[in-house]
């Protein structure tokens, strides 16, 4: 039973990690807590659902959704956030704008798909195998595999490509990066695309796992992703990875030992504990205050 829950937690946590990475990337580059990220995740799931309805098959639907959701990420930045940067608005202006964006996205989903839970078809045929008395379903393997592959790909991208170098430079010092001839706008666009694309894949995986999608799924998964990111250290890639997995495991353990009502609360408790004990997270550096 314990190992069974551990497996469930690992598969879920891996997907949380995938969402957390996008969140972390945007924070790293813009120092912006992107509250719309969770809504983008829900949006991605629903776009996939829409294309599955058009009978293109689940995997192509998720791929289309990935491109479209990435595009929406760029759109959000261009329409809502870029003008604020140009005006050099106060930081909370960006924060409140992303809250507004998430509200719009979620309610447009409600208008189009209804507020109820909609059935989301299985992505791959049901199946799996038993390993030492533990049932591992094919969906769990898919979730784990896809998320892990994407995480490794992202890590490679950030650490070994020119774009990644530009992203890291911006993370360290946006002004100096601009002076070195980095096209700041294209880096920001690329980051928003990556964040949107990974969130939409995660949306497809989570919806496929629970076999349902609903517009408020951003609200119910968002806090878990925030917790995962903060636990790992906001702005850190390995942090998002470890944080996501830990939150996934903690969540299923809380459900097992304390009862299912505590499932959603566990993430918040972790969040508050982390902020009290180690606010910079497991892998985060202490942000120096610049005067």
């Amino acid at each position: 039973m314990f190992i069974q829950q551990l497996v469930n937690g690992l598969a879920l946590g891996m997907v949380y990690a995938l969402i957390a990475v996008g969140f972390s990337l945007v924070f790293g580059i813009l120092r912006l807590v992107n509250f719309s990220h969770a809504a983008i995740f829900a949006f991605g799931a629903h776009v996939a659902l829409f294309f599955i309805g058009l009978e293109v098959g689940p995997i192509p639907a998720i791929l289309i959704s990935m491109v479209l959701t990435g595009g929406v990420g760029i759109l959000i930045d261009k329409v809502a956030l870029a003008p604020l940067r140009k005006k050099k608005s106060i930081p909370i202006a960006g924060l409140i704008t992303t809250i507004g964006v998430s509200y719009i996205l979620q309610n447009i989903l409600t208008i189009v798909f209804g507020s109820g839970r909609v059935h989301f078809p299985a992505i791959i045929p049901p199946g799996g195998f038993d390993f030492l008395g533990t049932r591992i379903t094919s969906m769990q393997i898919l979730m784990f595999g896809v998320s892990l592959t994407l995480m490794l790909l992202l890590t490679y991208l950030v650490n070994h490509t020119k774009m990644g170098l530009a992203m890291r430079a911006m993370q360290q010092n946006p002004k100096a990066a601009r002076l070195m001839g980095i096209n700041v706008n294209s880096v920001i666009m690329f980051t928003f695309f990556l964040a949107g694309a990974t969130a939409s894949i995660a949306g497809g995986l989570i919806s496929g796992f629970y076999q349902m999608a609903y517009p408020a799924m951003g609200v119910s998964f968002g806090p878990k992703v925030f917790s995962a990111t903060v636990l790992g250290g906001i702005g850190s890639m390995p942090g998002a990875f470890v944080g996501g997995i830990l939150i996934g495991v903690i969540e299923v353990m809380a459900a097992m030992f304390l009862g299912s009502a505590y499932r959603d609360g566990a993430a918040f408790v972790v969040l508050i504990l982390v902020l009290i004990l180690r606010p910079q997270g497991l892998f985060g550096r202490k942000l120096a205050l610049k005067v």
């Binding site: 912006l32 809250i99 903060v230 505590y262 918040f268 408790v269 969040l271």
Partner: protein, 342 residues
């Protein structure tokens, strides 16, 4: 100083302030006798409740620049504490109010101490989590909160043997009294040393700490006061509704309060009343928009941040800043330097 129309308007308002306040007081006090329907009166009371909530959040978000998305949690604590005390122990409404607001303030302290050492964004995330935890507690702590069924037939407040309700306009006058007290408190707070410190932190926290302000303590204080006021609004809200459950205090409520603060004008007291009036009346007037109403809320937040981050009434005062101890006439306009925040 440039003497533009704003300056002229403000100096006019200031010169005739006694007349204006007199008129406002007369309208507010006689409103129930204008023959308005119960529905309209109820809407006006709701505007008052949300103006109170906005005044509370404004202390934190408007003046101290800390965004909270969990004020529905403090609202719920106030409402549930007083409702449970009044129903189980039959305490007086005012006792319930003190207990509810104090408990909300205490939660503000408990939440504020660890989190306000961190940057503003963390605070926002934690407050969001806090709001959800409070809902979770309401749903699971059945012996006290009656779980998902909610609390029904919450007793109405009684004063001197008379029960206050909508028909005898007791609720209306109670609302007026509470809003007045809260606004008066905010006004005096903001013109005190503490209030000026809040504003300094809001403008530039690093500079404020360089000037020797204990920024962490002050931010926690702003959080506690904000939670306290929100708790007061919750205590009033419970008997007004007569029924509360976990769905009364959702994330949407937190967003609504924040929207009021932003639309009205962060860092002003006058804006809270206008913002509340607009955002409470708007859903009533726009039933035809259905679900699009919420999209409009989101758009409102974005557009306000882009084009008018100071809010509708959030202009910078053109009148000379009041410096205590020196009552000097400004040449030609007969304005003495006085304290203001409205």
């Amino acid at each position: 100083m440039k003497k533009d129309w704003l300056f002229l308007m403000e100096s006019m308002l200031f010169k005739h302030r006694l007349l204006i306040w007199g008129l406002v007081a007369a309208v507010v006090l006689t409103l129930p006798f204008w023959g308005l329907s119960l529905f309209v009166m109820r809407t006006i009371i709701m505007i008052g409740v949300f103006a109170m909530l906005a005044l509370g959040l404004n202390l934190l978000t408007g003046y101290t620049s800390q965004v909270s998305l969990g004020h529905a949690g403090f609202f719920a604590i106030g409402a549930y504490t007083s409702a449970v005390l009044m129903m189980r122990f039959d305490v007086h409404f005012l006792v319930g109010m003190l207990a509810g607001a104090a408990l909300a303030g205490l939660f503000g302290l408990v939440l504020g101490i660890p989190t306000l050492r961190l940057s503003g964004s963390y605070l926002t995330i934690v407050t969001m989590g806090f709001g959800e935890i409070i809902r979770l507690i309401i749903m699971t702590w059945t012996p006290v909160t009656n779980g998902t069924l909610g609390l029904m037939s919450i007793p109405r407040p009684r004063f001197f043997g008379t029960e206050l309700n909508l028909n005898n306009h007791g609720f209306y006058y109670l609302m007026v009294a509470l809003v007045f007290l809260v606004a008066l408190f905010c006004h005096h707070l903001l013109n005190s040393k503490v209030g000026r410190s809040f504003r300094a932190i809001g403008e530039d926290e690093v500079a404020a700490s360089m000037m020797g302000l204990q920024t962490t303590e002050l931010k926690v204080l702003a959080f506690v006061l904000s939670a306290f006021i929100t708790g007061v609004a919750g205590v009033f809200y419970a008997p007004l509704m007569g029924f509360i459950d976990h769905n009364t205090f959702t994330f949407d409520v937190s967003i609504l309060i924040l929207s009021i603060v932003i639309v009205g004008g962060m860092g002003t007291l006058r804006g809270m009343f206008l913002g509340s009036a607009i955002l409470i009346v708007f859903p009533e007037m726009s039933r035809f928009l259905m679900d699009w109403r919420f999209v409009v809320y989101g758009l409102l937040l974005i557009l306000m941040m882009r084009f008018r981050p100071n809010g509708l009434l959030g202009w910078q005062s053109r009148l000379p800043y009041p410096i205590r101890g020196k009552k000097k006439e400004v040449k030609g306009h007969g304005i003495s330097k006085r304290q203001r925040s409205f």
